[in-house]
């Protein structure tokens, strides 16, 4: 006890520890990899993500997060047919991801790159019609970006992210749909 108090005393001015956690909220633009996805729902979407990082070592962090993507679209006619009518669609997907990041910090900037596993739960429905499909896809996520301390614990983050999330589909000519894609996102966070 004495020793501990002495150490505290020695550290009358405690050593400034670098923050261990960072929670960011990000939004951006996602371009789906799958051509069918783009044909049905358009070429760009706005994913919203929350990501938590835990700095394990000065240059290594673990991350986990959730991303949500929602999109509206319309059915397409198969083959060479010209559609007299189509049906409105609604697609939603939640992705849970976890992995590791390599970090390097200098002058208030932190640059990171890493990757991990991705689990996506999706739901697609034909609006106004009794047709819907739900399921899950397992894949991976890779991301790279930079973070800058704005003021105190507030940070500004930017990242580029690639997700691969193949899902089985009887409706797809190849039998599979990649629900992932390439995205750019920007967000703010808190370090502590």
């Amino acid at each position: 006890m004495t020793v501990a108090l002495a150490r505290t005393g020695l550290a009358g001015q405690p050593e400034k520890q670098s923050p261990r956690f960072d929670v960011s909220v990000l939004a951006g633009v996602l371009r789906p990899s799958d051509e069918s996805f783009r044909a049905l729902y358009g070429g760009s979407h706005v994913p919203i993500a929350v990501q938590l990082e835990y700095r394990l070592r000065p240059r290594l962090a673990l991350f986990g997060g959730v991303q949500f993507v929602g999109a509206d679209g319309r059915t397409v006619a198969e083959g060479a047919q010209t559609g007299d009518e189509d049906f409105p669609l609604r697609f939603t997907a939640y992705s849970i991801r976890a992995g590791a990041l390599m970090l390097t910090a200098k002058r208030g900037w932190t640059v990171f790159a890493g990757g991990g596993a991705n689990y996506s739960s999706y739901h697609e429905e034909w609006t106004g019609a009794p047709i819907a499909a739900s399921g899950a896809a397992y894949g991976f996520v890779a991301q790279a970006g930079a973070r800058h301390v704005l003021s105190g614990p507030i940070t500004l983050s930017g990242a580029v992210e690639y997700t691969y999330a193949p899902a089985d589909s009887d409706a797809s000519p190849g039998g599979r749909i990649d629900l992932g894609g390439l995205g750019i996102s920007l967000g703010v966070g808190i370090q502590f």
């Binding site: 059915t75 019609a129 819907a132």
Partner: protein, 556 residues
Amino acid sequence: MKGNRLRTCIFSCVACLLLFSAPTAVPQTPDTVLVKIEKRTGAAVSAGTLAGVRAVQELDTCWIAESPPQALSRLRRRGVAFEVLDRSPADKTYFLVRVPGVDDVDTLRGLGTVWPIEGDLCLFWSGGENVRELLPPEFVIKRLSGPIPVAISLGPPITGRAVLRRPPVPARREQVDLIAEMVSQVSPEHLTAHIRDLQLFQTRYASTPNCEESGNYILDFFRGLGLEAQVDYFPVASRFTTGNIVATIPGRTAPDRVVIVCAHYDSTSDQRLTEAPGADDDGSGTAAVMEIARVLAGYAFDFTVRLICFSAEEWGLYGSKFYAEEARRRGEQIIGVVNMDMVAYTDQVPEDLDVVANPGSEWLADRYIASVRTYALLDTLKVVSSSFTGSDHSPFWDQGYSALCLIEDTTLRNPNYHKVTDLLDTLNMEFATSVTRASLAATADLAQPFRELQPPTALTARQLVNRSLFSRAKTVYLQWTPGSGRVAGYNVYRTTTPGQLYQRIGRTSVSASSYVDRLLDPRITYYYVVTAVDGQGSESNYSEQVSDGTQGAQRW
């Protein structure tokens, strides 16, 4: 000296004969060989594998076929299991023989060449066509007469027996149910009288004068009803000529479409030339055809109804083979054939009626059974088997037509079968009446009773498949030419089984001459018919049937 000269002369003549005949003594490469090809094959069979190989007979597990010898190595290379049955089939007449028991194959061995083919079926040839008189009467025979116009397909055999616990129910009930009205007119007394009359000919064994007289009796009966009727003569085994008795009720709106109800009027027994009463086989079927003719003669139908009593069935299906081949040659559009053979003996009560179809005729069996459930008190057993070849439906299968055989038991249980004891007093006329009612209803349902209100014409269908990431759905666009006169609207019906089990779409009639059917399963082919309805709720017959995505229509 004279003797030497004579010997020299004879020797020279023989030498010359041998010399000139030598080329013909050299074995010739045969044009075709007769083979048995197993349906179940371990390899994927491409379209070209069976090029030049022509079907002679389809059975449940195999095909009997003619093949050029050079095609055999190709079959072997591509993993098709086959067996050569005869290397020189030219000028031979083959018979498919169903033996009563497997031990009876030995009986055949003493009479000709035998190949066990499948179960109790054997291929048999003896150098002539007179096989009926060679074999015991309890052996069921079918003459094979060369290639048939059915393409050989390989794959797992399709067979089955099913008691339909939940039978299909017709979606459409008439305001004025003409079929129920017809069925109510079937008379057991008439049926009994016909069987008694047929039995009184003592024998109806084809080749006997009595058989011809019984044919004339049926002909006179048909003509007495005011029907067009004639005898279609054909030769049997190059020995004699006999005839099918054919009566016709011409169709009112589509006479080129034909529904056939038939039986055979010839008989056999162990004393065939003098005594073959054939009350059950097939006096019962013949009496049913006559009774159906009596009732249907008072009605008109959209399609032509043909009532046929075949001859020489017992000789190997000569009469029906002649008719079916001629029908195919003249392009007759036969919708379905209802063949009744032994429909009055019951070994148990209640007896169920066996409804035998090949895979291509299964729809007809289902439709028949639907008629049974609606109009007759009868249990049925659906049997799907290409190997049940021993009656007059089989030549129609060979020509690619849909046909049924109705029989009291596919495994023969009548102890009087092909015996002099096959008499009226051994029969159950209640059962025979039920079968006649069911067959009449099925025939009328297939031929569609004529109604003043005409169905729409020129029905066409076009399909569109929409897709999302995980789902697909088909939309079918139907269009037709509006009816004239008192048409108030249209009912649209859909089915997934062509020709039957139509289910009405929607609760109300549509007023336009088009309809869009949405959100359908794109993996399924749908078939549509449309009816016209008038202000009083009367409904026309079905229009032509169209399948989604095709323009071609077919009238059912």
